[in-house]
Amino acid sequence: MTIFDAYCGVGPWSTRDKLLPYRPEEILALMDHFGIEKALVYPNAGVQWGQPPGVNEFVIQASRVSGRLIPALALAPNAHEGYPKPEDYLAAMRSTGARAAWLFVQGTVRGLWRWHVGELLDMLVEHHVPLFLLADQCPPDALDMLLRETPELRVVLCGVGYMGDSWLYPLLQRHPGLHVCLGHFFVPPGDPERFVHRFGASRLIFGSGLPHFSPGGLIGHIIYANISDDDKQTILAGNLRDLLGEVVL
């Protein structure tokens, strides 16, 4: 099976534990061990601070170390003169090969309201760029509002936690544009079989949660699942490849 990791951080961050890798070379060595061919990488520092100047340099540098690391840029609204505008992000995507974006709702990004991030959302929709979000930064009602107000947006939700099904499944039912990333621990009992039966394999995307979380458990969770090999391959790589392949820059 080919594995394409949708949820992998790179670069330093302030609260790092000594056990955790952060350099591109360390991430690549772990990808080799776990059999991960490519990874879409976000800047670790962005999770805590949103989009301080320069945070995207970590993923751009990583992509220069290896073509197996595909950059995903952290976005922030153009609140002040000197901040990047949507067209600046587009230009950066064109020049760096980035094909995905993150909004870390933290620091400079305070919510998913259209009056705050609407220009960015419109840019993502126009160019079919998937938007990645963290579940613990986006309450279910904020996600619902986002997907109601911008239904054409392709959203990938990462980090859905233990016992999250009760709000996640109704949200998936309401919004066909919502995808769920397996990492870091979307592993409720009976899934992925139950998820695939209800929503199909096309909305579940493999992501490891590296460098914070180790990929082995999640890979085994899919490999041992009682679903078809085609569905396994779709989850492990196909869905992400398709989403990034639809991007028009």
Partner: protein
């Protein structure tokens, strides 16, 4: 074993080494629709898990007698595959000793399960439990969380002949207190059940303590059995260490044979 253990997880092959689940459950948890007992055993078959020691989620949420009865019924349905933890709670002090005596009239019960509610594990309220475990040579599994062992370490130290299994070791990435306690207390073992899988944590436990002090459990059906098992199969440790974690270290406490 015909090939490296990591290859089993890479290909979805059934394990052909003995694997024993030292921390599992039966029943649902509030809000979760979990697989049936039959489906749980079918998943054990698919992975190659020969047996599991279980406690009931109904005991976890307070209905201790009902929970232990459910465990007895599961053992009756799946003899040799399901063994039991007798779950007791010091929040029901009059019930402690009679429930232990009731459970252990059934030979399928092989250990005691404690949950982190009410008194700490080293408070006098739990003295009857420790005395019972000591006299009968029973292992004790206790829920711990986030580096707070809630007196389980000091209780283990006071009862050095009782194998003590600290549940969810390293949860919240608080691995330090577990390692420090296990270095100090030879009969304290670390249980790996945890929905998350922090990078390099299993490897760090093994490096600091030796694989002999680490025990595998799935926490199924609350967690994914295959995910929990694959954490160990993919770990950057030797296959010899994986075998110790998956079977050798704890099987003897529960009188299981490979």
């Amino acid at each position: 074993m015909s090939r490296p253990l990591i290859d089993y997880a890479r290909t979805g092959a059934r394990l052909d080494i003995p694997v024993f689940d030292a921390h599992a459950h039966i029943g649902d948890l509030i809000g979760e629709d979990v697989p049936s007992l039959e489906a749980q055993v079918a998943q054990m078959d698919r992975l190659g898990i020969i047996a599991a020691v279980v406690s009931s989620t109904h005991a976890l949420v307070g209905d201790v007698a009902r929970g232990n009865d459910e465990v007895a019924e599961a053992m009756r349905q799946f003899p040799g595959r399901m063994f039991g933890y007798c779950h007791v709670s010091a929040n029901y002090p009059d019930f402690l000793l009679p429930e232990l005596e009731r459970c252990f009239r059934n030979d399928g019960f092989r250990g005691i399960k404690l949950y982190q509610v009410g008194p700490a594990y080293d408070e006098p309220a739990y003295d009857p439990v420790w005395a019972f475990a000591r006299e009968r040579g029973l292992p004790v599994l206790a829920h711990t969380w986030g580096g707070n062992l809630t007196g389980f370490d000091t209780a283990a130290e006071k009862h050095p002949t009782v194998p003590c299994l600290a549940g969810h070791a390293g949860s919240g990435f608080a691995y330090g207190p577990y390692i420090d306690a296990a270095k100090r207390i030879p009969n304290l073992y670390l249980d790996l059940t945890y929905s998350r899988e922090h990078t390099h944590m299993i490897e760090h436990f093994v490096a600091e303590l030796g694989a002999e002090r680490v025990v595998w459990g799935s926490d199924a059906p609350l967690f994914s059995m295959s995910q929990q098992l694959s954490k160990v199969l993919f770990a950057l440790i030797s296959d010899e260490d994986k075998r110790k974690i998956l079977f050798d270290n704890a099987a003897g406490w529960f009188r299981l044979k490979g």
